[in-house]
Amino acid sequence: MIHIDLTDQPIAVADALRSVEADGAGAINTFIGTVRNQSTGRAVIRLEYEAYDSMALHQLRKVAEQAVAQWPMLQKVTVIHRKGTLHIGDVAVVVAVSTPHRAESFAACQYIIDTLKQVVTIWKKEFYQDGDVWVAAHP
């Protein structure tokens, strides 16, 4: 019921949504993270995501398991993160969850994406016309 993936291929969003369908679910909630065209006012040309694969997969699974522990009514959870080079509009991450009722689906989906951003070993480098920056690296 937990599906985790880290891929250098485009994420098949429709397949991710189908993967959380469940007869006991009255709600499917998704978060889709996409590449924005600017960051703090600078035009972004592309992003590169680097991952510590084994730890990222392990930590992603732990985050999903924590969500299941907190919302035991979760039917299915899918989290897929992209790595490699991404361009404006590309999908970087998909979180999809299914629950009997909608309130828990919103809460669990938000918990998973918020916690992912804090602990999962994935790094994003933004490329601009005139340089590049590892996001969040420096105060």
């Binding site: 993270g33 995501y49 680097e50 991952a51 510590y52 084994s54 730890m55 990222a56 392990h58 930590q59 993160h81 970087a92 991450v93 994406i113 992912l116 951003k117 804090q118 602990v119 999962v120 070993t121 994935i122 790094w123 994003k124 480098k125 590892w134 996001v135 969040a136 690296a137 420096h138 105060p139």
Partner: protein, 80 residues
């Protein structure tokens, strides 16, 4: 003891290579390893944060390291 450390993101760029072999005292802690690395690579100390991972888990500051461990430096993550 001799530790092999995997480097990622900005830490990999600061050190200039994807792995680092370092000779350190037996039983060295995660905190002690970071102190040694900060001395060798001052730019690491300028990062917002730098954690040590052991066998795919974040290590506590006083966790002793072992040669057989899979050790990595974890600069501020920015997935999502």
């Amino acid at each position: 003891m001799r530790l092999n450390i995997a480097l990622f993101g900005v830490a990999r760029e600061i050190v200039g290579q994807p792995t680092l072999e370092i000779e350190t005292a037996a039983g060295q802690s995660a905190r002690g390893l970071l102190s040694e690395l900060h001395a060798r690579y001052p730019a690491l100390a300028a990062l917002s944060s730098l954690a040590v991972a052991v066998n795919n888990e974040y290590a506590a500051d006083d966790a002793p390291l072992h040669e057989r461990d899979e050790i990595a430096l974890i600069p501020p993550v920015s997935g999502g």
